[in-house]
Amino acid sequence: MGWWLRGGRGGEPRRGVGVLAALGCVLALGACSVPGAGGAAAGQELPGGRILRPVGPERVAEHGRTTLRVLADSGEREFLKRLVARFEKKYPNVRVEVETKASTDFFKTIVTTMSGEHPPDLVQGNQGYGVDGQLVRAGLLRPLDDVSHAYGWDLDHPGGTTDQLRWTPDGTLFGSGSLYGISQSNEYIGVFYNRSKLSELGIRPPHSWAEFTAGLRKAKEAGELPLQLGNADQYPAEQLLGTIQAQKVPVNESRAWINGVPGTTFATAGNREAARELRGWARKGYLGTGYNGVSADDAVSKFTAGKGVFMIAGSWNAPAVGGKLGDDAGFTVPRTADGRTVAAGAFGLPWHISAKSDATDAAVAFLGMMQSRTGAQAMADAGRLPVVTDGVDMPDRLGRQQAATGKRLLLGDGQTYYFDWASHSMLATIGSATQDLLTGRLSVGAYLRRIERDRAGFLAEQEAKTRGRGGGS
């Protein structure tokens, strides 16, 4: 029988070999232009005009029937359902169309979706270079400085909390520049604990870092798994490092490194100490064995099934933990030695207004309501932690604990952000490096160097890009 790729051997006319080449040329011609040419450039003036005061229903009503298209991560669905109902009641001429996508799908498509002809008016992004940086660089987002001023957001967050949403206009650096987004959600890494386990072991819920680490030791001595960790997805151990590091390093120092401030390095004494402590935890068996093969999801399941006394994880795990453990679930951010509340954390996914939106007023009004107490209550009702917590009823004990800690965190400007914002490959770099640190394949020194090398390379690239652009125009 003929082998399936046999062919073209001997005896066949060779005419028309050029046909193929010609075909290739025709195709290539169709494809050959500098990629990205013809993309829309950012307009100079503020789309929709400068916002000077909060946008009220009368002003929105002037636009007549309006459709506000919203694209969000699926985690926002319950919240949006509640908020949209209230918004449409207050702004009867607006119909809000919400589409949500699961996180992984959302991040894969958001940038291309926003570059389309008719992108949604209001979208979520993600802090860091991969999403927000791209959107700013391509001029797809409307700066929100005027909105922030009109609504007093800059007064709500006097410290550097909103710096995570500020970008230089070319999108190459963040941490300063114009404000491009805002978020109603506060997310940070804290310590979940299992109350019944604690009382069994005679450990009090920890208030300070010293109490927490003593609790870990005591749990280990009692033969319990001190800390539940599932690190197959690689990011959870980064959160562990961030949590330890927040105790040792001033917030501004952490942020400066993440923002790429020249002269900063990852190989600081504080980071070294943090990495050493994390490695010590692994060595002492605080993390159990096999954590690198367990997913973050499964770790939550295990923790709620009574495996592990503590679990360091994002505040957003509260519904999963509380739903199963009920009042047995507790949450805290242990205070530092000098009594501050500091944690690896940031705003939840930020909201942006499309530069191409023709419903800017409605979008601003929607953001305004989102940041208000009404929005905060909608968040709480959806089982999530809002930025605004005063006068908001949290649904359960765990939620109240998170709200109290979250408020302390924001008042003290204690969010250190996340290391993986430092470069667009940092998530993968620090993820695998931390696994190697935990298993002892990487020394503390080599670990710090590997992370710093990634960021240094990235910053050099960014600088070259900025320079290239400056020279070109």
Partner: protein, 329 residues
């Protein structure tokens, strides 16, 4: 019976085909059923009379069954895990092989409602059916040409075709999305169908080529001696023989089209009405913050079942195609 695919015929023999000959073509030469002749080694053409050689020893038969049972257990185990987790009460956060104390269908109901599965399954069914039909339509003649004709550039063209079989389209999907936007096809059914037909064309053509090439040359030559055109040879001689090959191909193409995720995600960025089943599933699996293993598992089962059903259905066709081969002898 349709002329193009041959999959819809019951027996698919040349005689049946002849009986439907329309008046205008009455003079068409009659193509005889396969001649009985001893095939060359490695060039078999007739389906075996029975599906198995019956005289394997008893011990061998037992061993065979035992191995198949074992293999089936291994094949099934992960699926059973998923199914059991799905049958737990809502919010149970079960993992691994945990048997629910009582059977709950709540997770299925939640998945169905939240994933908008009724719509997603319809979309997927439409898309997969279109992809299978169009692909069969274009790859049968192409496979025939590659298997039975000599023509310039056959080798290079085959190699070019193989590129489509091996390319990692994670890389090409971004340019593809810009192309589709330029052509105004983004967010349409065409965006779901055409690129998949293109990709399936390679697999289908190789498969059909392989099958046609295995049919003894003598059969085709006999038809040609009788004055049949090439198209007639394809329709009257080769297609009736290829029912099993076509159904297998259809099952595979359906499977691939049904499970296609990345193309559907990137090429339909902003039209929730066109959400396909894998996207609906991804609504649960891709959600890293609020995921619930029970609902996710239920969604996975919902997406998998239709493919399994199609496969089983085509399998019956596949076996009957085999039996028709036996009748013909």
């Amino acid at each position: 019976m349709t002329d193009t695919t041959g999959t819809t015929g019951t027996a698919g023999t040349a005689d049946t085909a002849d009986s439907t000959a329309r008046p205008g073509r009455r003079n068409r030469p009659r193509v005889r059923p396969p001649y009985r002749r001893r095939p060359r080694r490695g060039a078999p053409h007739r389906p075996p009379r029975r599906r198995a050689v019956a005289d394997g020893s008893r011990r061998e038969s037992l061993l065979g069954h035992a191995l198949l049972v074992l293999a089936s257990l291994v094949a099934l185990y992960p699926f059973v895990q998923i199914l059991l987790v799905a049958l737990h009460e809502p919010g149970a956060r079960a993992t691994g092989l945990s048997i629910p104390s009582s059977v709950h269908l709540d997770n299925f109901a939640t998945a169905w409602r939240r994933g908008l599965f009724s719509e997603a399954l319809t979309n997927s069914l439409l898309v997969a059916a279109a992809v299978v039909a169009l692909t069969l339509l274009i790859c049968v003649p192409a496979g025939y040409a590659f298997a039975c004709f000599r023509f310039p550039l056959r080798g290079p063209l085959l190699a070019l075709l193989m590129t489509g079989l091996v390319l990692p389209y994670e890389a090409t999907v971004i340019p593809l999305s810009y192309q589709m936007r330029e052509w105004g096809l983004l967010d349409t059914y065409w965006a779901l169908i055409l690129p998949q037909v293109g990709l399936s064309f390679a697999l289908g053509t190789f498969w059909m080529r392989n099958f046609f090439a295995a049919v003894p040359r003598s059969l085709r030559e006999a038809a040609e001696l009788d004055g049949a055109t090439r198209l007639q040879t394809l329709r009257k001689v080769l297609l009736p023989l290829s029912v099993p090959a076509l159904t297998t191909l259809a099952a595979l193409l359906f499977l691939y089209a049904w499970n296609e995720f990345l193309l559907a995600l990137v090429l339909v960025p902003d039209n929730p009405g066109l959400r396909t089943a894998p996207l609906a599933l991804s609504f649960f699996t891709g959600d890293r913050r609020t995921s619930d293993p029970g609902v996710t598992s239920a969604a996975a089962v919902l997406v998998a079942l239709p493919v399994l059903a199609v496969y089983v259905l085509l399998q019956r066709r596949f076996i009957s195609g085999m039996l028709s081969g036996a009748v013909r002898e």
